[in-house]
Symmetry: C2
Subunit: 406 residues, 2 copies
């Protein structure tokens, strides 16, 4: 039903946080932008050829052959048991000292973020985020009725000085401090930027000083195409304040819907208790086998090369087509470029014209907890062909120029 049809018969039974959000769009509502004839640069889809269809079927066959019925029973078999250890191995390659016991598997990273929220956030609590940030996380936080404050993000990521100034002023004035700061420090969604090492260290100092947790979302962390690695927040953390969430959605496939939480013992123990219900041992067993065969590592190397070319091509297209007054980020990895159109252009209002020209995108506003970002758009370079990218960026440029002339 549409929200307009609501009679509100049961509204009084909802939680306060739910009641406050009634009538607002929920998680996934951004799928509504639909223009079949236009090239969609809207979504962070992995490119279709990256999906390991055959490998997953082969892994399923092998699992059942080796484990019989155990893969489908409560608790799962050896392959699903090993998956936590196998993802911990990935995390060790990212520099984090951990093993399988430091990991709680989840149904994807949004589920992981949800469990962390459920553990820590009460109605009215304060949460800090980068602005722009992942719109799914913003929707999720809203379900908990928390107050969200967004901080600028520049070429070096989150403006940690601005965070420091806000914390200082809140502390001085006795205003509430945040319980949690949510960040995608590496190849951020939607901006593509990466938080510098200096800022990471400063952020962790602030977390310790002002007693908040840092929720590190590293969904794109393994997808670096250019430049040198920057240590993850979890690696730099010395106080146990970093709770890290991750996913296989970008490096295996979204459909396997498997993620994890990595945290200090003290926190993981409780987070695990809040992560109620069993996990999908069918999928986990298939993934366990897929990893154990070395398929993940091999495929990842191929994905990186492929995405590097896509990223470069997108930046070339922007250089070629866009008006000088537009600016965009220069990502070293991930799926997205963030484009700032001239200030007086509203990207949401521009969308129908852009779709007519042949491109759709997500307007910047939906990535902000407030009303900023109206002149921005997120472009995904992850899944369309080079030819489509050319057409799409040329269409965006035409629509922009036409709006500039109005």
């Amino acid at each position: 039903m549409t929200n307009d049809d609501r009679t509100g018969a049961f509204d009084h039974l909802f939680t306060d946080a739910v009641r406050e959000g009634l009538g607002e769009d929920g998680y996934g509502s951004w799928r509504a932008i639909d223009a079949p004839d236009a090239v969609s640069l809207s979504f962070g889809f992995p490119y279709p050829e990256s999906f390991p269809n055959d490998e997953l079927v082969a892994a399923a066959e092998a699992v059942f052959e080796e484990e019989g019925d155990r893969a489908l029973q409560y608790g799962g078999g050896d392959y699903s048991d090993r998956l936590a250890e196998l993802v911990a191995e990935r995390e060790r390659k990212r520099g984090i000292d951990c093993d399988g016991d430091d990991v709680v598997l989840t149904n994807g990273s949004t589920h992981a973020i949800d469990v962390v929220c459920h553990t820590f956030l009460e109605h009215g609590d304060e949460v800090f985020v980068e602005a722009p940030t992942f719109m799914g996380a913003l929707k999720l936080f809203a379900n908990y009725g928390v107050e969200i404050t967004g901080f600028e993000n520049d070429a070096d990521g989150l403006d940690v000085d601005a965070v420091a100034a806000e914390l200082e002023s809140r502390a001085a004035e006795g205003r509430p401090l945040p319980k949690l700061l949510y960040t995608i420090p590496t190849f951020q969604n939607p901006s593509g930027t990466t938080l510098s090492r200096d800022r990471r260290e400063r952020l962790l100092d602030l977390a310790a000083e002002y007693d908040f947790l840092v929720l590190e979302d590293d969904a794109y962390g393994e997808l670096r195409y250019f430049g040198d690695d920057v240590p993850t927040l979890a690696e730099l953390d010395e106080t146990g304040r970093v709770v890290r969430v991750n996913t296989l959605s970008k490096t295996v496939a979204p459909g396997v819907r498997t993620g994890w939480i990595l945290a200090d013992d003290e926190i993981l123990d409780t987070v695990g208790r809040m992560c109620a219900g069993g996990t999908n041992t069918f999928t986990q067993s298939v993934l366990g086998r897929y990893f154990a065969e070395g398929t993940y590592e091999r495929n990842l190397a191929e994905f990186r090369e492929n995405y590097a070319e896509r990223c470069t091509h997108m930046l070339d297209c922007l250089d070629e087509h866009m008006p000088e007054s537009a600016e965009w980020t220069d990502p070293d990895g991930g799926f997205f470029v963030w484009v700032e159109l001239p200030e007086d252009i509203d990207a949401e209002e521009l969308l129908p014209a852009a779709a007519d020209e042949g491109v759709t995108y997500l307007p910047g506003e939906m990535f902000f907890p407030d009303d900023r970002g109206a002149n921005c758009v997120r472009l995904s370079f992850s899944h369309v062909s080079f030819e489509e990218m050319d057409r799409a960026v040329a269409a965006l440029a035409r629509a922009t120029r036409s709006a500039m002339a109005d």
Copy 2:
């Protein structure tokens, strides 16, 4: 880490509900009872031969052949899209007037219950349950910091008169009324009993009169072996107060971890918004294909015959071995028989001796929100062989007689 190692460094950051539960065992902790040489009647495992390993591999192969990469992309393809419609078809066979739009798919039914809790329950809210009831639900409710009141369950299920009396007295005294009553009305876990039609109607009247929701968990509803169908609460509901959760864990396999919520539009719309994050389209596609082929229906017919024999054999074993002073339920379906040992026997204390004799079970106390049920045990007849059942029940009888003699 064990709870004893806690330093409590981050306890002040947890929600109030989480802090109150610190040190208590979490979801899944009942798995700890381990005696490898004893026959385990502890868990509601489907019997291993029921798992459709080959059918799932074949379905995965067919899905990828027919849909290419769509099954693994965000949003999934046609088979995962159709799954909501296919489970609604199952629900229509249970007498419920519904279609795919009335269903939100979840990662199993515990996840479904969790989402319902997240939508409705605040710290301090009141929840009514059958006592005994599913221990997983009790753990889950505890994560929300709610007050749980348990009502007796007899051969006709929940004692609805007792519920009515409590509601009346609370209303008269101005004490808080429940927001939600959680029930497994059909082949209840752990008791195996089924709520009579009269009581169902009376319960729904009470829900309307005292303004609460009824959370109907029908995990075992399709597994009837004897007797006539009783209408589901969702079918009898005329006010939209029934929120129904269900799962494929018992009728396909636990490892596919797929369930759903079925509710009135007014509620489903909001519940869906709280069910953040995508779903496992890999599994859903495989299940969609599995259903579409008619495999579910064929397998279910076979499962019912098989479980009927297991159930009968379990009751025969109890008749043959147990002392006269023990009593047990007479289930028409589901996985469990609930046994009351003589009143002075503590089933948890008896467990080591019973394990030595050759059987393990879940002690009754863990199915109660209070300290009742000490002399009870839940026995699962769903997955052990006839020979194991004989040995196990004989062992329980020996341990019981020996404790009676003490």
